[in-house]
């Protein structure tokens, strides 16, 4: 019992620390990717290739003055970012990153808490996330913020339905609500994944679109549409409170990417069994990355690169070497595949942001109710019918 608590505490710290870092660097990645899409370098000043930019941002946000505007509803104004970030981080707790592993003689899962209704938990928590935004918009006593909050609540209620329906279809195929079992049913080959196994392309797409709306990302970022609403619901927020909203948004992105991975892409499962050599993919990837970095360091385009690229290359090679250590492989391989899948989805999020314009509000609603919802219902019906016929 005690060891359970200790292990849980350790896991919480590890996951929380990693998540915070990832969230901070996700910001950097996003800026970089969009910058490259727009053919510009992006953050470049702080650290090599702006690698220390997140750190600088964090310091800036912490040290900034926390401005409390007059005429706000103080308790709610203060509670709103807290609610938002709490709900965003809460759902991470049930997401499994990998299978059970043995660390220092203890078997444990790479998951903070296992619920046999994990999917429902994630849905529940994400549905609570809207309060943070709505309350922020309302308590700011600012009409832009209020409109942002209204939009957000309407949008999230509307898109929760197709989201839930899209989730239901893979759940039907896997016949469980436990996130662990969900992954276990997709073990083996690529075509065992729910996406391919159950022909869930439609619900995957619906899920992705709805999760864009749920996370208020472009093209559904109506609640914070800069050119209409200044900054939407967080117009009146500054410093850490503003950072909290930011963090919540990125945490939500991570959550939905994790969910998509677990539901459709087989979670931490490799695309093909290890005996066919999937275990060497990370080594190859990191080694190749390291070699490329070394090559670029050799033919440095800029003066600084001659120093930084070889360092990065050596780090990559070291990571590749780590993946060769047999007893670490059990831990790292699932993690690698999980991160790879989640990372790809996050890249899609950023990619879309750099590509698509924003919807108009009525289009957004019409799209949810007249396109996405019927499609999701139809997909669920067909899936259920097929399952009923087959079994």
């Amino acid at each position: 019992m005690d060891s359970f608590i200790v292990i849980s505490l350790i896991k919480i710290f590890v996951v929380f620390g990693a998540l915070m870092t990832i969230l901070a660097y996700l910001q950097w990645v996003e800026r970089k990717v969009i910058a490259h899409i727009q053919v510009r370098p992006g953050p470049y000043r702080v650290g090599p290739h702006g690698l220390l930019q997140p750190l600088a941002d964090v310091i800036k946000l912490i040290t900034k003055e926390g401005l409390l505007p007059p005429y706000v509803n103080k308790p709610l104004y203060l509670a709103a970012p807290f609610i938002a970030v709490t709900m965003a981080l809460l759902s991470i707790s049930v997401i499994p990153f990998g299978p059970a592993i043995r660390v220092a003689g203890y078997w444990t899962w790479m998951q903070l808490a296992n619920l046999n209704i994990g999917v429902l938990f994630v849905l529940a928590v994400s549905s609570m996330g809207v309060y943070g935004i709505a309350l922020a918009g309302w308590s700011s006593n600012n009409k832009y913020a209020l409109i942002g909050g209204l939009r957000s609540s309407a949008q999230m209620i509307s898109y929760e339905l197709p989201l839930g329906l899209a989730i239901a279809a893979p759940l039907l195929i896997s016949n469980t609500l436990s996130l662990r079992r969900l992954v276990e049913t997709q073990d083996g080959w690529l075509w065992n994944w729910n996406l391919f196994h159950g022909f869930q392309y439609v619900s995957f797409v619906v899920f992705l679109i709805a999760s864009f709306a749920e996370t208020n990302r472009i093209p559904f970022d109506l609640p914070e549409a800069e050119n209409e609403l200044v900054a939407g619901y967080h117009t009146e927020y500054s410093s850490m409170k503003f950072a909290a909203f930011f963090m919540a948004e990125y945490a939500n992105m991570v959550t939905v990417s994790c969910m998509a991975t677990l539901l459709f892409l087989g979670g931490w499962v490799a695309p093909w069994p290890e005996k066919f050599g999937s275990g060497f993919v990370p080594v190859a990837v990191f080694a190749a990355a390291g070699l490329i970095a070394l090559f670029h360091g050799w033919n440095a385009a800029r003066r600084k690169d001659a120093l930084t690229f070889p360092v990065v290359g050596v780090v990559f090679l070291a990571v590749a070497a780590v993946f060769l250590v047999p007893f670490l492989q059990n831990i790292l391989l699932p993690l690698f595949w999980f991160c790879a899948k989640v990372g790809s989805l996050l890249f899609v999020f950023i990619w879309i942001r750099g590509t698509l314009p924003r919807f108009r509000y009525d289009q957004l609603m019409a799209f949810a109710w007249k396109v996405l919802f019927p499609v999701a219902v139809l997909n669920l019906l067909v899936t259920a019918l097929v399952i009923a016929v087959i079994s």
Partner: protein
Amino acid sequence: MDLILFLAFALIAVVAAINVVVQRHPISSAISLVGVMGSLAVLYLLLGAEFIAAAQVIVYAGAIMVLFVFVIMLLNAGGEARAGRSFVASLLGVPALVALLALLAFFTARLFPSDAEVHFGGFKGGTPEAIGRALFTTYLLPFEITSILVLIAIVGAVVLARKELE
């Protein structure tokens, strides 16, 4: 452990419920009500109703209350004005409430002696599978009827909230 959980969340529930009643602004009441529902969800988990707990959060806290908050924000009505209390309400209401609570408490204490106890895991019948099985076999007719009810509610809400056509 169970006792601590119960006491903590019962306390939250009671305090939040009192807050629902005494808060002057509806949105504060609404947030407090969400608090009540959240803590009740935890208690439901304690009682082995895991699906209902999730549904409580998703449906009640996540959908119904969001709707309330949405409407409150949309109308942006201010706090309640302090007006003279209804004569009947204060004359009958307070004693009636006190009597109601006392009676309910008495009832409960009398009908359920303290030897009946609750501990987490004492009842495992509330899984989604069990609920679904009951819902689609024994309770299929009520289920279908509620679906019709919901359809009617959708139509009704649309008709009521629709803009008058010129």
